[in-house]
């Protein structure tokens, strides 16, 4: 599959496999550390409709406010996901998320959560702040802006052809584990450490 519209259903997400390159279009929400704490502290019914069937993007964007009060994204590359490892699986389960976008991959708890709830981890291209900001077409609304500040707020955005790679799927597969294992074997061979 090359393109995916958000929100989407479980079956579509279950059809995705590790290594798939996907271009995402539609509505998604952003959130990093403060957002994840806030989302599990109690059920936030005001944001829940924006999350069901969609994905959460780990990003601390640079956002421009226009004179008419609207916003646009100026820079929007992914941030390191592993910081949300303690909370991610719960956030996915409680809000019915179908995925996460970030960089660096996540750990076993999230991998199990993806399998249980039918969700995937999409890896964005780290550092590509300008290209990714260009695919953010519209800022619909924002939650917790005053409380958390621009980078930590929950932005509801519309994206078009946002390029990502499935690196953890809903069947327990992880590209990170595969690449780590293969590169370890190669390292051991290069250093003559193989048992």
């Amino acid at each position: 599959m090359a393109r995916l519209s958000l929100p989407c259903d479980e079956q579509t997400i279950r059809s995705l496999k590790v290594g798939d390159f996907v271009e995402l279009s539609g509505r998604l929400i952003t959130g990093r550390d403060a957002a994840h704490h806030w989302l599990i502290e109690q059920y936030r019914s005001e944001v829940a409709p924006y999350m069901a069937g969609s994905v959460i993007y780990h990003v601390g964007p640079v956002v421009k406010r226009h004179e008419d009060g609207s916003y646009s994204f100026v820079a929007a590359g992914p941030t390191t996901s592993i910081r949300e490892e303690p909370y991610q699986a719960d956030v996915i389960g409680r809000y019915g998320l179908r995925g996460v976008i970030g960089k660096g991959g996540m750990g076993p708890k999230t991998l199990a959560g993806l399998k249980e709830h039918g969700a995937v981890y999409f890896h964005a291209i780290g550092g590509a702040a300008q290209v990714l900001a260009e695919s953010v077409k519209k800022v619909e609304t924002v939650f917790q802006l005053a409380e958390f500040g621009v980078p930590e707020a929950l932005w509801v955005i519309q994206v078009e052809d946002f390029p990502v790679v499935v690196t953890m799927d809903s069947h327990g597969g992880s590209l990170h584990t595969q690449v780590d294992g293969a590169s370890k074997a190669k390292l051991d061979q290069l250093l003559g450490l193989s048992a």
Binding site: T80, G126, Q130, A182
Partner: protein, 294 residues
């Protein structure tokens, strides 16, 4: 006499360049990597996106990555010039660049647990001044991102698990292990700056100073040049690839320096720099002329 304000303005220009214009040798290395990856592979797609991003940032003079990193600068100045003035001017330049959105407010005070909002904090930016015999001022700086800084590593030799003894072979083993451990997490393909010897502080600092070198330069010391070439070739056999998606382009360059050590210590310090290797250098002559360096 050039005033502190004038130096601030000059430094802002250097910072603007570092943040938005990726050096030609880095772009060339990314393009070479792209050409080597298979058509349709994840590695090639990642490099396509990276190269498109580099172009966009350059045209718009906007930050290549939103994590604009720690500003690190090395300044050579004529005898008698005030290093305190230069440090103040550079720190002020970081604040101005932040207010102009060339940098993100990127400094957190860990005691107050608060972003200072203007890009500076104790130790940020890091300014190193050194006197020299020339009458020009030479400025070389880096913006080093947090994601890649987090995957740096320091080893103490000997290291039995790596079969690394206190010799150059041992140093090589540590550097390759650090590249393996980083996987794609430092936004691979990365550039490796390494130092053997020194203490825990000076070793890391020298490893970062190595990152000021152009990717296509060659180490004048034959032993180190051989090491750099060998590690580069081997690292790219690990198969980690851009972003850790798998592929041939894991590392774009390896730069190694050394410092004296105590008999009791043998450190190998490895700094990982992401593909967004934001470097800028300029020479300011006394008549006010500016020459941009690579």
């Amino acid at each position: 006499m050039t005033s502190t304000e004038q130096w601030t303005e000059r430094f802002v220009e250097v910072i603007a360049r570092a943040s938005t214009q990726l050096a030609p040798d880095v772009v060339a290395a990314l393009q070479r990597g792209r050409a080597e990856e298979e058509e349709g592979s994840l590695a090639r797609k990642a490099l396509d996106t990276i190269l498109a991003n580099v172009d966009l940032a350059r045209d718009k003079w906007q930050p290549i990555c939103q994590d604009t990193g720690t500003p690190l600068v090395w300044i050579h100045h004529p005898v008698g010039m005030s290093t305190r003035m230069l440090s103040q001017a550079f720190t002020e330049a970081v604040k101005v660049a932040t207010s102009r959105q060339l940098l993100r407010p990127n400094a957190v005070d860990p005691l107050l647990d608060r972003n200072t909002g203007h890009g500076a904090a104790p130790g940020i930016p890091t300014v190193h001044c050194e006197e020299w015999d020339e009458d020009a001022v030479e400025v070389r700086m880096l913006l080093k991102g947090g994601g890649c800084e987090n995957v740096g590593a320091q080893y103490s030799l000997p290291n039995p698990a790596l079969k690394a003894d206190r010799n150059l072979e041992g140093v090589k083993r540590c550097i390759l292990d650090a590249i393996y451990r980083a996987q794609g997490k430092g936004c691979a393909p990365g550039i490796i700056g390494a130092c053997f010897g020194g203490d825990r502080g000076s070793g890391y600092l020298e490893s970062k100073r190595q990152l000021l070198r152009r990717l296509d330069d060659r180490n004048p010391l034959p032993e180190l040049d051989a090491m750099e070439q060998e590690i580069l070739a081997k690292a790219n056999q690990l198969g980690i690839g851009p972003m850790g998606f798998g592929g041939k382009t894991t590392v774009l360059g390896v730069k190694i320096g050394y410092l004296g050590r105590l008999p009791a210590s043998y450190f190998v310090s490895v700094s990982y720099m992401c593909w967004a290797n934001r470097r800028a250098a300029a020479r300011f002559s006394p008549d006010g002329g500016v020459q941009w360096l690579d």
